[in-house]
Amino acid sequence: MRTIYIDSDFKCHVDADEVMMSVDTDLFDDKCKAYIEGHRFVPYGYQWMREDGAIFYGEMVAPWKKYSELNEAQRVYEHEQYLSSLEKDTQYMDAYNEGVQEA
């Protein structure tokens, strides 16, 4: 669960300003900033009108940037997270082995 912020057009933000609404949701758990901020979040009880006049009612979470690009950004982020995790594991093992040798 994390807190995101939505502006007057229901676009998501990771950081808040003075006027944004805060929303607690688990929909964006483990998602990168680019992915989150490419979405629109319309909470229950609210509605949003698209440029062509179509009205959408909350709860709705939908991309306003190209969805394929958001998914790609998320894949890159997850890969980076994986590499970072691997590096940490290596460091931990090195430290452990060093400790064992000293002992």
């Binding site: 698209r50 969805y67 998914n71």
Partner: protein, 293 residues
């Protein structure tokens, strides 16, 4: 005294020749009764095509039967009803994609019947086909021509493969039933926790050019749950809980659920799901239509 006219003999012969060519008779025709009689003997199908395709951004206010209105700001330069992409193509052309059977049928003859089954309409604008909002006026009312993935028991299986791919999570009970005129989803939590249940199309669907995913639903029970529609690109083993691209209801509801997919292009699964997080979750929902605009 009746009006009198002079005509050239060869002109009268021209008319008689035309009548004989049409009738197939070679006999001499006597003016005027013979001419009148011969014309009266002409036979045809006794029927005519009733179909009027119009474009524009304002829906016609006084339409005739079988008026097909395409909501477009690009002038329609031609149109066809076909299962195959028309050729040659001109900018502004409208292609009504037809199938052997669909919920919306157009009887295009005045007295007899020829049925067309359009599934959707696309217009060729600036080098690309785009699905257009289209309505057809029949029996005193407008019908929306949308791409129906599911319609009161009718499944567009050649496009979707049917709603048959399922994901289940949680210990509670889950039910998915294809009734005669609806899809039925039900989930219940248990002492072990809530349950999530998703059913999706067997095939990915190309959503390019569509702006909205809709479902006509009736949620009769909704406790600590929500019902959602969604699009999802992957069928990997990670079960989609409530996917990030979705719209949902968390209360008893009857009506249309609409998801903005105007920024979604490419191939995606269309999903229906119920999600409950605790022992108390109860959700029953009937889905009558799923369609794209």
């Amino acid at each position: 005294m009746a009006n009198e006219y002079m005509v050239y003999a060869e002109d009268v012969t021209l008319v008689a020749d035309a009548i004989r060519e049409k009738s197939g008779n070679t006999q001499q025709l006597i003016w005027p009764d013979g001419f009148v009689s011969a014309i009266g003997d002409f036979t045809g199908s006794g029927d005519s095509i009733v179909l009027n395709v119009v474009g524009g951004t304002t829906q016609p206010s006084n339409p005739s039967k079988n008026t097909v209105w395409v909501n477009t700001s690009t002038a329609i330069t031609g149109w066809c009803f076909s299962k195959d992409e028309p050729s040659p193509i001109t900018n502004g052309m409208v292609w009504f994609y037809t199938v052997p059977n669909s919920p919306l049928a157009i009887d295009i003859l005045e007295e007899n019947s020829i049925y067309l089954y359009p599934l959707y309409a696309k217009q060729y604008v600036n080098g690309a086909w785009t699905v257009m909002e289209t309505k057809i006026y029949q029996d005193g009312a407008w019908s929306d021509l949308s791409v129906r993935l599911y319609y009161y028991g009718y499944e567009k299986t050649e496009l979707t493969g049917g709603f048959s791919r399922t994901w289940r999570n949680g210990i509670g009970s889950k039910t998915f039933t294809k009734n005669a005129d609806n899809l039925y989803l039900k989930s219940s939590g248990s002492e072990m926790g809530g349950s999530n249940f998703t059913v999706g199309t067997a095939y990915k669907i190309d959503l390019t050019g569509y702006s909205t995913l809709n479902a006509r639903i009736k949620c009769t029970t909704m406790t600590s749950s929500n019902f959602y529609i969604s699009v999802h690109e992957s069928t990997n083993d990670v079960e989609p809980y409530t996917p990030s691209c979705h719209t949902s209801k968390s209360t008893v509801y009857e009506g249309i659920l609409s998801l903005d997919i105007s920024s979604v292009s490419g191939e995606y699964y269309v999903l229906l799901g119920v999600s409950g997080s605790n022992i108390n979750n109860r959700c029953e929902c009937y889905v009558y239509e799923v369609y794209l605009q």
